[in-house]
Point group: C2
């Protein structure tokens, strides 16, 4: 079954928004460890919260609700709704009083990260956050190598600008290795991005 | 038609998540000005964003998606989904690098604000945000008087504690007037809560 966003992009159900009954089917398709980037980040954020290191949450997927039924004696059922394009990034929260904001994306591409993974509203949002003094970045995963990088939003904006000026539509892996920060995968937490933030 | 949350609470469709076709029906029921607290805050946040004063967004309503259909040549349709209880507050963002976090609620009660408007997860989240040095508060509206107050989370937590210890299940309007900050309603922005934050 093919599920698409209004913009024609393929819909992939995410862990956080899918009922547990469909959980097992999904897991196999992602990576060797059977964990999506989202799952890794949710566990990382949970770890941060429990240890009182930071309070970061993933935002719910925006949905336009059209019809809701209320069957007797049971929960309200949404019978018709549509996916809306997010106007911001997926994750935000607080670390030592500071505002933290990021988006996480993965690619199957082994040599570069396609910029079409981001949409213009998100880029605009990142600019606004930076202007307001927030800490803003993206977490990029190359699924084939299980490699995860943190790239500060200021660099992403530069690459986006390059594309807008007719340049390449992706960031090469080399560029990400140079400008970004490799995040070694751990056990607890899995993707320790706060450690990277402490450095800048 | 009565719509209820899984917890039995009445479901009120919100501006941000309802199709525009149902918009007019809804508006009448709220207040003299025909604006919900959510609409007022969305406009306020839009004003802040445009003027580069702050970047604050309302989080989407969390929904558990169970079934999605993909009709040929048109957008994916969510055919079965359920409301989930929010694990955080509804609004957050950044102001001068600082993390801002709040919840907004209104009551028809003329003399006190019932604490059942908040659920334990939200209270826990507010505690976590305060511990992490974030700026956290609630915006409370007494709909009968069109009066809006900002109450810092630390005070809300005290009143919540009082209830937990067997005390009253609401905050009296007097207490809110004493501990909170009245926000005069304006035209642009409608609910200028950032001005209050500047004071503390």
């Amino acid at each position: 079954m093919n599920l698409n966003y209004p913009n024609g992009k393929r819909y992939k159900p995410k862990e956080s928004e899918t009922a547990t009954t469909t959980k097992n089917k999904k897991n196999n398709s992602y990576s060797n460890r059977g964990m999506t980037l989202e799952e890794d980040l949710n566990e990382t954020n949970e770890f941060y919260r429990e240890r009182k290191i930071a309070v970061i949450h993933k935002k719910p997927t925006p949905v336009q609700i059209v019809q809701v039924d209320y069957p007797n004696r049971s929960a309200a059922v949404i019978k018709e709704a549509y996916f809306k394009l997010a106007s911001t990034t997926d994750y935000n929260g607080v670390y030592k009083g500071k505002y933290i904001d990021f988006e996480a994306k993965e690619t199957q591409n082994p040599t570069s990260f396609p910029l079409k993974n981001f949409h213009p509203h998100q880029i605009e949002h990142m600019e606004e956050v930076l202007n307001q003094g927030g800490i803003c970045f993206v977490i990029l995963r190359f699924t084939r190598f299980e490699q995860v990088f943190l790239l500060e939003a200021k660099h992403l904006l530069t690459f986006w600008e390059r594309m807008a000026n007719g340049g390449r539509k992706s960031i090469t892996k080399e560029e990400i290795e140079q400008k970004g920060h490799h995040i070694p995968l751990g056990f607890q937490p899995r993707i320790d991005y706060i450690k990277i933030i402490d450095r800048f």
